[in-house]
């Protein structure tokens, strides 16, 4: 098993308003996979699809080497899931909720759960309805980690949390991963947060997977170029032009956003009559924005 999560050609439609279209992604075993996308791009729907909560219209899904939805029970027994909104029973206390939750997981590690309760500074007698957003976030993490999952699925786990709690949550996840080599899929629209911790990244927009690649490639592969004497078109280019824009309106100097750029490729541009004057690195957020911009139909694309 090379992939902890594998979706191929998954489509799902919710009325006329939203659909997942031919979603294919592969989360390598042992990776921390950042699942990026703007709000409403389909991240949560994709997660719910591979966790068996939604039945896709088309496509194949395998999680931890098992087929979804056929082996859902075995799969969910090994998955720690933190949904985007707290999903636990408000009238219970922390201890009661943990007791209830643990009854469903044969591998629940009580000692580890107690340790996490202390570490995350959760009061076992606190009623969930009276918890702050940060406390609720910590409780969800405790519930997800208590059974020592081999796959952790975190859907916007730090959304709306203050920086201190956010750091606690991420540190706990990283410690767990460091200890167990578990696979993590973490969905977020907070790009900077993922930049620090993920080794793979997948980008979703409007119900489609725009790209997925190792984080290092994503960070290093998308560049901003200033090209003088830019050719009208660059067919057969060894890189992908995500967007291009004239700097002065006259068209002699252009700013290009390209993917898959390597320094020797400047010779290719010279070969078609242009000159690369500057190459700028983009940070993850800029790369992400440019990637989304280029994937949308209204954007000026490479000619």
């Amino acid at each position: 098993m090379n992939s902890a999560i594998e979706l191929s050609g998954v489509s799902w439609r919710a009325g006329k308003s939203f659909e997942l279209t031919d979603v294919s992604l592969r989360v390598p075993v042992g990776s921390i996979y950042g699942f990026l996308g703007p709000n409403g791009s389909g991240k949560t729907t994709t997660i719910r699809t591979f966790l068996g909560m939604l039945k896709p219209d088309r496509g194949d899904i395998r999680v931890l080497g098992k087929e979804v939805p056929r082996a859902m029970r075995e799969i969910l027994a090994c998955v720690g899931y933190v949904p985007e909104r707290p999903h636990v029973y408000p009238a219970l206390t922390v201890a009661e909720q943990v007791r209830y939750h643990s009854a469903f997981f044969p591998t629940w590690d009580r000692g580890w759960a107690d340790e996490l309760t202390n570490r995350l500074q959760l009061d076992p007698d606190r009623k969930i309805a009276r918890m702050s957003k940060g406390e609720a976030g910590k409780l969800l993490l405790l519930l997800a980690l208590g059974q020592r999952p081999s796959l952790l699925v975190l859907d916007e786990p730090t959304d709306g949390l203050d920086p201190v709690v956010r750091r606690d949550v991420l540190a706990t996840v990283l410690d767990y991963v460091g200890e167990t080599q578990a696979t993590v899929l973490i969905s977020s629209h907070l790009v900077h947060e993922l930049e620090r911790i993920c080794d793979w990244v997948g980008v979703m927009d409007r119900g489609r997977v725009v790209t997925e690649m190792p984080m290092q490639h994503f960070k290093n592969g998308i560049k901003r170029l200033r090209v003088v004497g830019a050719p009208v078109s660059v067919p057969d280019a060894p890189f992908v032009v995500l967007s291009r824009q004239s700097d002065n309106g006259a068209g002699s100097t252009e700013t290009w956003i390209v993917r898959g750029w390597e320094p020797p490729m400047s010779y290719f541009i010279e070969g078609v009559g242009g000159t690369v004057r500057d190459v700028f690195d983009l940070d993850l957020e800029e790369s992400f924005v440019e990637l989304l911009r280029s994937s949308r139909p209204t954007t000026i694309r490479s000619r």
């Binding site: 966790l51 999903h87 029973y89 009238a91 219970l92 009661e96 007791r99 939750h101």
Partner: protein, 226 residues
């Protein structure tokens, strides 16, 4: 898994159940209130007890139906509120989850039933029974339990679906009553020989008569009988 499920259901339903448990306890006692001192004419006393019982009779099935509804609605309330995400993320088959939930409600139905049984025992023990009459506290409690389960099952099934499904079911029932009433009127208007036909009443009567699914509500709710 059953025990935590029962606990969670209990936690949610307990405050709502309190008045129903009190009512289940009190109802049999209210029925015999003021009777059975044994100082009046035996046949008259027996008649008065039975006549008085008839006044209270409708409250027993109504109470059972209400308890069933409360248990069913509290069984699904949190899950609906949370979009069923939590339930679906647990490593348990959907049918098994539903059965666990159903089973928890059945166990909780024993609480008001026990209250009614105790109330019925106290009520029947508190009066001097006129000759020819007998008390049936066990049968009353058993009927109450079965009627509660019937109501619970009905509302539980409705609650298990989506809001859309529930709206469809309720709409279908309303449509039946309105449509059936209209058919009765039209049949009577166009053909006077059909004026005795009553679709709604016949169906309701079929559902509630002995052997029908709701017979438990309309049967003999006797605490005291011959």
């Amino acid at each position: 898994m059953y025990q935590p499920m029962l606990f969670v259901h209990w936690k949610q339903a307990r405050m709502l159940l309190v008045p129903f448990v009190l009512a289940a306890f009190a109802l049999p006692l209210l029925v015999v209130q003021g009777f059975g001192a044994g100082d009046s004419d035996v046949s008259q006393e027996a008649y008065r007890i039975l006549a008085n019982y008839q006044v209270w009779l409708p409250y027993f099935p109504m109470l059972a139906a209400s308890v069933g509804a409360v248990l069913a609605l509290t069984a699904w309330n949190w899950d609906h509120h949370l979009g069923h995400i939590y339930a679906l993320s647990l490593p348990v088959a959907r049918w098994e989850y539903v059965m666990l939930k159903m089973g928890a409600g059945v166990a909780l139905a024993l609480v008001p039933t026990a209250a009614m049984w105790i109330g019925a025992q106290l009520a029947s023990g508190s009066i001097v029974m006129p000759e020819g009459l007998r008390a049936y506290p066990n049968q009353l409690a058993a009927r109450f339990f079965l009627a509660t389960l019937m109501s619970y099952a009905l509302f539980f099934a409705m609650g298990a679906g989506t809001i859309k499904t529930t709206v469809w079911i309720v709409s279908a029932v309303l449509f039946f009553f309105v449509g059936g009433g209209l058919i009765d009127i039209l049949l009577g208007a166009f053909d006077p020989t059909m004026s005795d036909v009553n679709v709604v009443a016949s169906t309701v009567s079929w559902l509630a008569r002995a052997g029908g699914p709701f017979a438990v509500f309309t049967g003999n709710w006797t605490l005291i009988d011959v």
